[in-house]
């Protein structure tokens, strides 16, 4: 008997496994199972406001995961994505604070500045790797701490609020530096459009351009790629810069459409969440939006668990984590199966 074992098969099994696991947890604490799942759905999709909130939470996750697809495909474990988000946020905040411009000019400049900030931070990780031989995981992690430190320094130092020594954040930006929102919603069409645009560009780059194909080639086999004549070091640096630039945009949306100022935890852990999304998507950019949206559904919906059932909202995190682990586990098992098949073929 032949069973279709493509990605859909793994996802359905994985979702089933995580639902069973979470249901088991709920049952263990005698919590109504169906009510819990119903609240998750109504809490995230039940009204236009809630739907808008869910979409809005998805924005930074989508952008961060799009950034990670670029570097992951090139074989780079860009854990430094958090730092690149922060660098983008800092650069955009700088523009918002320093320039008194009308919205139509200020917002594009903030977006550009954020991209440059993120690209610069990404380039640092790349240079450490390519020129200094520092593994990008360690370089990225180190620079994440530097970026966090920089933000805290700015907030209590040069950018501190007048008369208040507080780590709660800078003065709010002038209204011109806010992404416009729909009347009565927290949803900013500009932020959502930006995230969709980024995903579209990443899809295009990896499906239609030589650049994307070459990055993938390097990620799969740098030695052969070099023999093919691809300048591997240069491409890796560009991958870091591009990834950083995109991550920087996530930082821009954080300061310009959510907080409207720079706060210490500006990246909100969305970079790490993005890693989960990319792993779940198996590096396929076309799957980023639905998966990120599903994650935001859990994040927003699980608020209702706290309000209505008195559950700690971290249960949502357990759900997400279980999901990712099951998908990875099932993919790994499939790979092992294929390998075993290949070996047994050789042995014939």
């Amino acid at each position: 008997m032949k069973i279709y074992q493509g990605p859909i098969y793994s996802y359905s099994i994985a979702i089933l496994v995580s639902i069973v696991f979470v249901s088991f947890l709920l049952a263990l604490f005698e919590i109504p199972i169906f009510e819990t799942y119903r609240l998750l759905l109504t809490g995230s999709l039940g009204s236009t406001t809630k739907f808008g909130d869910t979409l809005m939470v998805g924005v930074p996750v989508i952008i961060a995961s799009a950034s990670l697809v670029i570097t992951f495909k090139a074989g780079l474990w860009n854990i430094g994505v958090e730092g690149q988000i922060i660098a983008g946020a800092v650069a955009a905040s700088f523009v918002a604070r320093e320039f008194q411009l009308p919205s139509g000019i200020l917002l594009p400049v903030m977006i550009l500045a954020g991209a440059f900030g993120g690209a610069f931070w990404g380039l640092l990780v790349g240079l450490l790797k390519v020129k200094g031989g520092v593994n990008e995981i360690f370089g990225g992690l180190g620079l994440n701490f530097v970026a966090t430190g920089l933000v805290v320094y700015l907030i209590i130092g040069p950018w501190s609020r007048k008369g208040i020594a507080s780590t709660s954040g800078t003065e709010p930006f002038h209204q011109n530096a806010w992404f416009p929102t729909l009347e009565g919603f927290r949803l900013s069409p500009l932020a959502v459009a930006l995230s969709f645009l980024v995903v579209f560009i990443v899809i295009y780059v990896f499906s239609r351009t030589q650049f994307g194909l070459k990055l993938r080639a390097i990620g799969l086999n740098p030695d052969s790629s070099y023999r093919f004549g691809i300048p591997t070091s240069r491409y890796l640096l560009i991958a870091f810069m591009l990834g950083g630039a995109v991550a920087g945009l996530a930082g821009v949306t954080q300061v310009a459409s959510i907080h409207h100022r720079l706060v210490p935890s500006i990246s909100g852990g969305y970079g790490y969440l993005g890693i989960l999304v990319v792993l779940l998507a198996g590096y396929r950019p076309s799957l980023l939006v639905p998966i990120a949206f599903f994650f935001s559904m859990i994040a927003i919906g699980s608020i209702q668990w706290q309000l209505r059932l008195g559950l700690h909202s971290s249960l949502g995190g357990v759900f997400q984590g279980t999901l990712v682990l099951s998908v990875i586990l099932i993919s790994a098992m499939r790979l092992m199966q294929q390998k075993r098949k290949k070996y047994s073929k050789v042995g014939d």
Partner: protein, 487 residues
């Protein structure tokens, strides 16, 4: 005490790596295992040391049948192996290296291990300080550490797998003295090498393998030419197939020296003319690989000049070489040649990009389909290299080559290929040569070298010691040169 191998057979896919090998090694004997790369030496020692399991055949020690399904089984039966790169835990002290491999049956007793280390060191003249960190030891000392550890674990048979590759002359003398002392105390030693003079100087007997078969076992010392005949001989004199009329020199190497992880060449001078086919003969590691990589721009020589079209190109970047019609095809077709995970269409899209920014998948798919047909590759446009057989991988690599090449450097064009693919590859290469491409290839198959080369260069220890016309030579002459004997 004796180690007896009976009818050992091991097959990998279609390749018979060990074909019915039987040999007996006596107490106190130093037994050489000689053969070219791919002859089956590694497979055989991996079977004896428990890393591979035989398809059929048995290993007996002192008349007892051994069940060797893991390296632990081997060492518990008294068979120890010293790998080419000693497998030590570098950040650990010597004493911790001993304890890390502690058999379950023994107590974790530092004092006892410390005593054992000094006792063994004293007996064999090793210089092992128990608390020294392994990373501070030379390769020679790491070998001593491994040998001492294997003795402590109770090894009575010791396998040394090409132990002299990475050590200095002094260290080699020390090692040989140790091996002789071990043999004198009754240990059976298997000494794997492709260096003839080492086999001659230390072994009592030698077994020669060729293409998975045991050719003969001889008492040593014996005439070196006999060993070479056994390693390489055994085929009919074939007629050369390439009849290039030599034109102008296109590429002239003048005293080129290069060194990297692929080997060393020192002061190599040679010239190549248009359309010529040049075979590089030599033992594995004699310098062919780095010579080919230097010619194709992947490794820049640190001394000497590479003259191409009146220009010294020895310091130019690899991209320059690609633009000027240089091409390199490696022996490791999956590891360095093709890209696992990319489809055949994607390979063609990469190879035929010619500065385009976007990809026309329709065109690339069409191109891939045409090339699959033209090069008779068994696969589809969506196949990936890992789905193809070795022969089809090589055809794909040839199909991916640009149309007009000036210099093609190639390692082992037909290694591991079936006869049909091998013939096909050479037809393609001869066509290329006729259209003016200079082809420089390495091979360990003398018949291939003589059949297809115009000229054969023989590499030995990083130099070229012979430059002979393929039409007026014999396998025996080339074999002697390969072994370092000048004619």
């Amino acid at each position: 005490m004796s180690l007896k191998l009976l009818n050992i057979t091991k097959r990998f896919g279609t390749v018979l790596a060990n074909d019915d090998i039987s040999v007996e090694i006596g107490e106190g004997e130093i037994h050489g295992l000689l053969g070219e790369n791919g002859a089956g030496k590694s497979t055989l020692v991996n079977i004896i040391s428990g890393s591979l399991v035989t398809d059929s055949g048995t290993v007996e020690l002192d008349g007892n049948y051994l069940d060797l399904s893991s390296p632990t089984d081997a060492i518990e039966s008294g068979i120890g192996i010293l790998h080419q790169e000693p497998l030590v835990f570098l950040p650990f002290s010597i004493i911790d290296n001993f304890l890390a491999g502690l058999p379950k049956s023994r107590d974790f007793d530092r004092t006892a291990v410390r005593d054992a280390i000094s006792e063994i060191s004293q007996e064999y003249g090793f210089d092992l300080e128990p608390d020294a960190i392994a990373s501070t030891l030379t390769i020679g000392e790491r070998q001593q550490l491994e040998i001492a550890r294997l003795l402590w674990m109770g090894a009575r048979v010791l396998i040394l797998d090409e132990p002299t590759t990475a050590i200095s002359e002094d260290q080699r003398e020390n090692l040989f003295a140790t091996i002789e002392r071990l043999a004198a105390s009754g240990m059976s030693v298997i000494f794997v090498s492709h260096k003839l003079e080492e086999i001659q100087s230390i072994c009592n007997r030698v077994t020669v393998l060729r293409k998975g078969e045991l050719v003969d076992t001889l008492a040593v010392p014996c005439p070196t030419s006999d060993l070479i005949d056994l390693m390489f001989g055994g085929y009919e004199q074939s007629t050369p197939q390439s009849q290039t009329v030599l034109g102008e020199n296109v590429l002239v190497l003048d005293a080129i020296s290069a060194k990297d992880e692929n080997g060393t060449i020192d002061g190599v001078s040679c010239r190549f003319s248009e359309g010529e086919i040049i075979g590089l003969a030599g033992l594995e590691g004699a310098g062919q690989r780095i010579l080919l990589r230097s010619i194709s721009g992947l490794t820049n020589p640190f001394r000497g000049t590479l003259n191409f079209g009146g220009e010294d190109i020895s310091h130019y970047p690899y991209s320059w070489y690609i633009e000027n019609g240089f091409h390199y095809l490696p022996a490791d077709r999956e590891g360095e040649g093709l890209i696992q995970g990319l489809t055949i269409t994607e390979h063609f899209a990469l190879a035929e990009s010619q500065g385009a920014k976007t990809i026309d998948w329709g065109k690339s798919t069409q191109l891939a389909e045409d090339k699959l047909q033209e090069y008779a590759i068994r696969g589809t446009v969506n196949s990936k290299p890992e789905d193809l057989s070795g022969g089809n991988q090589q055809r794909l690599l040839l199909a991916l080559m640009p149309a007009n090449l000036s210099i093609l450097s190639m390692e082992h064009p037909t290694r591991g290929l079936d006869i049909e693919s091998a013939e096909w590859v050479w037809n393609e290469l001869l066509e290329r040569s006729k259209s003016g491409t200079t082809i420089i290839f390495s091979s360990s198959d003398l018949e291939e070298l003589i059949s297809f080369s115009d000229r054969i260069l023989v590499c030995y220890a990083g130099g070229v010691i012979g430059d002979i016309s393929a039409k007026s030579t014999t396998p025996h002459d080339i074999g002697s040169l390969i072994g370092g004997i000048r004619i």
